[in-house]
Structure formats: C-alpha cells, structure tokens
C-alpha cells in the first residue's frame, strides 16, 4: 500500500482578504465539476471541498498536497501566498474545529456545520468522497454535535441587533401587533428593526429629520414614514423605539419621556439608543415602565458573550482532541484487521485440511456425527490458539502500536503470497 494521507490546503477569513476569497469561492455547480477534476488527478483517492463566504478549503486523501494547491493557483495566482497547508492529524483537527465552529469569525455560530454537511453531500454525490471521507466527516459531525450539546459555545447573542432582540423578547414576549419606531436613519437601527421581525408581525414606523432619507429607509424596512415633528406622538404609540440619529444631543429627553409615559398611560416602552454620542437621556431609565439601553449596555453583553464563548472553546478543544484520538484509533484498528483476517483465514484453512486428512485415513468407521465432531475439534484448537494473539493484536492496534501487527505478519509468514501451508504440515 502506498503512503496516502489526508492533506488540507485552504484559505479563510484569517489568512486571506475578501477579494482573494471571492475569487476562489465556487457555486454548487462549479464545485461539482471541480470535485470531479480533483478526483481525476494523479494520486488523489478522495476529495472534499468546503466553500463558504469565509473559507475555501480543499481536503484530499492523496499522496501529496500538490493537487489541492493546484485547485487554488489555477483559479487565482495571488491565492498562493494566503494558503495554509496541513497534513495528517493536523488536517483532521482542522476539519473538526471548522465543523464545530471554533474557526469561525463568530465562534459558536450555527451555520458552518450545515455548510460542511452540504460540502460532504456534494462530494459524495459525485463520488469524490469515498469510505475514508465518509468516516472522517461522520466523525466531524459527531464531534460538532458533542461540542454543541456539551459546551455552551453557541449561547448568548454576539451582535448588537441580536442583543436587542433578546432584550425586547424578555420585556414583551412576542411582538405581534406591536409597533417598532425607528428614530433616525442609522444603519444599525435598520438592522435591528429587521432582526426584531423574528419576534412576530410588527409594524415599523420610521421618522427622520430629512424626509428623503427617512422615506428611503422606510421602504427598505417595509415600514411607514412619519414626519419628524410628530416624534412625541409617535413615542406615545410605539412599544420599541430604536434611536440612531447623527444628532450631537439628546433627541429623547427625560422631560419628553415623562409626558410620553403619561400619554401612553404607563404602558411599558423599550428605548434602545444606538447612537454615539447618545440620543436618549440616560435619566429616562429612571422612569417607571421605561426600559432604556445604550450602546455601552449592549456592547457589554456582546463582549461578555464573546468572552463566555472563548472560555467554552477551551472545553470544546478537549472534546475535539478526544474525538481525533478516537478517529485515529479506529483507523488503526481497521488497518490491523487485514493481518488478523489473513491469520484467521490461514488457520481455518489448515484446520479444514487437517480434518479432511484425518477423516480420509481414519474416518471410515465414523458416522456423520463423528465426522462433524472431528471437524469441530480441529476448528476449536485453532480458535483457542488464536484467541490470545487476536486480542493482543486488537489492543495493540487500538493503542496506536503498529509494530505488533507487522511482527505478527512476519512471525506467521503472512507477508509472502505463498499459498502453501506452513512447515509443520509436512
């Protein structure tokens, strides 16, 4: 058997700028033909390509990493300087970390596992992935699932708009038939308003100093525009208010909120101030039934969650190491099996041959039952003799010791392809 190994060649958000990444990224159709091409190359046994907007990675079970490198350099010359190359266990580790979302831009995000699954599905659909990739990927999926369930790596919001959604959800539950008011045409505000739609069928109202930009934003978020002069009346009606204007002073003052709360009969209101400098007077938070948050409050949550995910990542790495070990062991056990199978096969052949000889010489006086028991005895002797070596070979393989299978092959003369029985059978 030639020495094949797993090679990974790739680039990701960590190694390459976006303009390089988009040059080598592939659509599903292009990916299929690329996989077929890869598989056809000299020395390539199996291939897998993971292509997302943050990474393109080529895994090959091959004799060298050259074919995988070629995949990149043939598409974009400048990719060469951004590539990372990993082999063997390192490549396995990389795949497991990617699938478990430890290598993602936002650690713990959910999408990557699906993308790796898709990549494997594509590779096996065009027969680029075979037995090895199947075992490797399945182990990667198991690892990712363990990481997700046994650690809290996916917990907590990691973006401002997600934090806003979490907050609003804890105040109002669902947002059906409620109103979100966007004050100012800031980009973050629009993002948050869109994100809030997951909480139910909200109506979005936009107000802005300049009506043109306000109307444009209203169209973008599928809301309605109301003139700036109406602000106080709008505040009295809305349930969630997202403020992000470019104004250097407070747009929503405590005095104004006092009047607003009276007008809205103290129904709860959530004020989210995404502007820097702040647009909502922090004194508003002291009013009853007003839940006010600024960028700092939200950023604190985001950083705390990132911190928590990083500390969970340490636990995830331990799971990954354990799974790599299990995967490597499983493969070595599998490699020890041919020796075992060969040994057993030879031994039973001898048992059958010896039984046949004995029966030929002395079997005339035996009935069918007697013949059967002679055959059974021969088989039993072989089994008893091989029981110890079988167990030890399996143990050795499982603990990563590859010397014993080799020694066994040499001792029992399994290497030579000579079908003649060993010497004791004169």
């Amino acid at each position: 058997m030639s020495r094949r190994s797993l090679y990974l060649v790739g680039l990701s958000h960590k190694s390459a700028p976006i303009d390089v990444r988009e040059r080598v990224a592939l659509s599903a159709e292009a990916l299929k033909s690329a996989l077929v091409d890869l598989k056809r190359m000299e020395g390539v046994e199996e291939a897998l390509v993971v292509s997302t907007c943050n990474r393109v990675e080529v895994f090959v079970q091959a004799e060298a990493d050259q074919p995988a490198r070629l995949f990149f350099t043939s598409r974009a010359q400048q990719a060469a300087e951004h590539l990372y190359v990993k082999a063997g266990e390192e490549a396995v580790r990389h795949l497991f970390r990617v699938a478990s979302s430890l290598d993602s831009m936002v650690v713990g995000e959910q999408q990557i596992l699906g993308q790796v699954k898709e990549a494997y599905g594509l590779a096996s659909a065009v027969d680029a992935a075979g037995g090895y990739m199947s075992r490797l990927c399945n182990r990667a999926f198991v690892t990712a699932k363990r990481v997700r369930t046994e650690t809290e790596i996916g917990r907590g919001a990691t973006s401002m708009s997600q934090v806003a959604v979490d907050l609003v959800a804890k105040i109002f539950g669902d947002l059906s038939d409620r109103t979100v008011l966007l004050v100012g045409a800031g980009k973050m505000g629009a993002l948050s308003a869109k994100a809030l739609r997951v909480l139910g069928n909200v109506s979005v109202v936009v107000t802005n100093r300049s009506p043109e930009r306000g109307q444009a934003l209203a169209a973008q978020v599928e809301g309605t525009f109301q003139p700036w002069a109406e602000l106080e009346a709008l505040l009295a009606k809305a349930d969630v208010v997202i403020v992000s204007t470019g104004a250097p002073t407070f747009v929503v003052t405590a005095e104004m909120m006092k009047r607003v709360m009276k007008a809205r009969r103290h129904r709860s209101i959530c004020l989210i101030d995404l502007a820097v400098p702040r647009n909502v007077d922090p004194a508003c938070a002291d009013l009853g039934d007003v839940y006010a948050y600024d960028v700092d409050d939200m950023q604190k949550v985001v950083s705390a969650n990132h911190e928590a995910r990083r500390s969970e990542a340490v636990r995830a790495e331990a799971i990954i190491e354990a799974e790599i070990m299990a995967f490597v062991q499983e493969r070595e056990t599998r490699e020890a099996l041919p020796v075992l199978a060969e040994l057993r096969q030879r031994a039973s052949a001898i048992a059958r041959a010896e039984a046949a000889r004995t029966l030929q010489r002395a079997g005339a006086g035996l009935d069918e039952r007697g013949r059967k028991s002679v055959e059974a005895m021969a088989q039993a002797i072989v089994n008893k003799l091989l029981h110890g070596p079988t167990m030890r070979l399996k143990d050795a393989a499982a603990s990563g010791d590859s010397s014993l299978p080799g020694a066994a092959a040499a001792l029992f003369g399994l290497e030579e392809k000579d079908p003649s029985p060993p010497s004791h059978d004169q």
Binding site: L167, K170, F172, G173, R265, H266, R267, S268, A285, G288
Partner: protein, 284 residues
C-alpha cells in the same frame, strides 16, 4: 391511612419540584420539566385520593380545621397550576409553584389528622361548605399569583438593572408574567367574592349577624378591597412592579388572617375547632 397517602404524595411533590428546579438550573434539560409535570400530576391525583379517603375516615369535617384547610389549599394550588399549564407554556413557573405547594403541605404532614370534633348542628349547613371551598380556592389562586408576581419582580430587576445573567435568560418575559398575574388576581377575586358572600350568610345564621368585626372578617375584607382595587386599576392600564408588589402583599395578608389570627386563641371565631380533636393514630 389518608395521612400516609398524603405523605407519599408529598414525596412525589418534592420529586416534581426537584424536576422543575433542575430544569430551571439547566434549561437545556427540557426532559426534567416534562418529568416534573408528570410527577406533579401523579402527586395531585394521589393527593385527591387522600382527600377523599380523609372524608370517608373523618366524615368530611376535617376541612373545618386549619390543618385540613392547608391540605385542601395545597391541592388547589397544584390544580390551579395544572390548569395554567394548559394555557401558558411557562415551565419555569413550576420551579416557583411546586416548592410553594410543598411548603403549604409540609406542616400538615406532621400534624394530627382527623376530625375537629363534632361541629355544632348550626354549622351543618351547605352554605358553609361552599364558603370553605370557595375561600380555599380563592386563596390557592392568590398563592399562585404570589409565585408569578415574585417571578415578575425578579425579572423586572434583571431587565431594568441591566443584569443579563442566568435569571434573565431563565425567567419568562415580563409581559407574560404581568398578564398571568393579572388574570390570576381577577379570577381569584371573583372566587373570593363568593367566599365572602357565603361567609356573611353563614355568619348571619350562626352568629346572628353578617358582620361582627371578627378579625378574620376584617382582614378578609381588606384583602378583598385590595384585590378589588387592583382589578379596577387594571382597566386604567395600571400594571408592572407595583401591581406585582401588591399581589404579594395581598397574599401575605391572607396568610396572616389564616395562620396568625388562629394561632392566638380567642381572638377570632374562625378557630376551626369546636371541640378537642379526636385523636387518631399518628405514624412514628
């Protein structure tokens, strides 16, 4: 026998509370909440069997005593939660209500069960049964409201104080808790009103006066006025922290009138004992 059954039910209540609390501590394990709900149903069923058996053993007069009242109330709190569970999917509420049920039940497990002697003939009145049943149901609903209001106050502190920690993520949204408290207070108020009216009828026949400034009558009236005002205030949009606080105050008053007043002999006519209790065998 009924007491033994009640003790078994209490153990299952405890296991159910453990399930709900485990879910509260580790929300990932939704199975814990499911097991908690099943156990609660089992304990509830056993509890009602125990109540039925006690009726047979002691002729149904046990509910006239403070101890019997607690047994009944604990069961009614569990009933109320099981009903609420059908309409609101808030398994975290179980973590607050099941321990409360157990707490109400606890003193009754060690007391002497049995009939509070023989009630005067004047008390053998169907209106009195209705009075006791509605009063116990009303108080049970207020107890549930107390638990939910406590959850509201805890969550309000988290949301308003910007501590987005473990409690924040585990407790339900403010709006759900507020709405549930309000509904429970309204229903409890209606039931409690019936209890007060029937109480007045009974008082009229037994004490020859519907109103005799009995301390329990006074506290009950205060509680009724408080909850009534809250039901009214709700219509004008009143809600939130103070609503939850008053819900809890109301229940505290109920507890005072039920427990504290009876603990002092002679202060109220609602003693619940009309003769020395008939001793029954007590489990070691």
């Amino acid at each position: 026998m009924s007491l033994d059954l009640l003790r078994v039910a209490a153990v299952i209540y405890a296991a159910s509370a453990a399930g709900f609390l485990a879910y509260f501590a580790r929300p990932k394990h939704t199975a814990a909440a499911r097991v908690g709900a099943w156990l609660l149903t089992a304990a509830w069923a056993l509890h009602v069997v125990s109540i039925g058996m006690a009726c047979k053993e002691f002729g149904g007069l046990e509910w006239f005593s403070l101890r019997g009242g607690f047994v009944l109330m604990a069961w009614l709190v569990a009933t109320a939660y099981l009903v609420v569970q059908r309409f609101y999917h808030l398994p975290t509420v179980g973590a607050f209500v099941t321990p409360l049920t157990l707490l109400i039940l606890l003193p009754t497990l060690f007391g002497v069960g049995g009939a509070p002697g023989v009630a005067p003939a004047t008390l053998r009145h169907p209106t009195l049964t209705l009075h006791i049943m509605t009063a116990a149901t009303g108080v049970a609903i207020f107890a549930l409201a107390f638990g939910v209001a406590l959850m509201y106050l805890l969550q309000e502190r988290e949301v308003k104080g910007k501590h987005f920690g473990a409690l924040f993520s585990r407790l339900p949204p403010l709006q759900s808790l507020d709405g549930l408290t309000q509904r429970l207070v309204t229903i409890g108020f209606v039931v409690f009103t019936v209890a007060l009216l029937t109480g007045a009828v009974v008082a009229h026949t037994v004490w020859r006066s519907a109103w005799s400034w009995d301390p329990q009558q006074v506290t009950s009236l205060v509680v009724w006025l408080l909850y009534g005002a809250m039901v009214q205030a709700r219509h004008s949009g009143w809600h939130g922290r103070r609503y939850a606080q008053l819900t809890m105050v109301g229940f505290a008053l109920v507890m005072v009138s039920m427990v504290a007043l009876r603990a002092v002999p002679g202060i109220t006519l609602h003693q619940g004992t009309y003769a020395p209790p008939i001793p029954v065998e007590v489990m070691p």
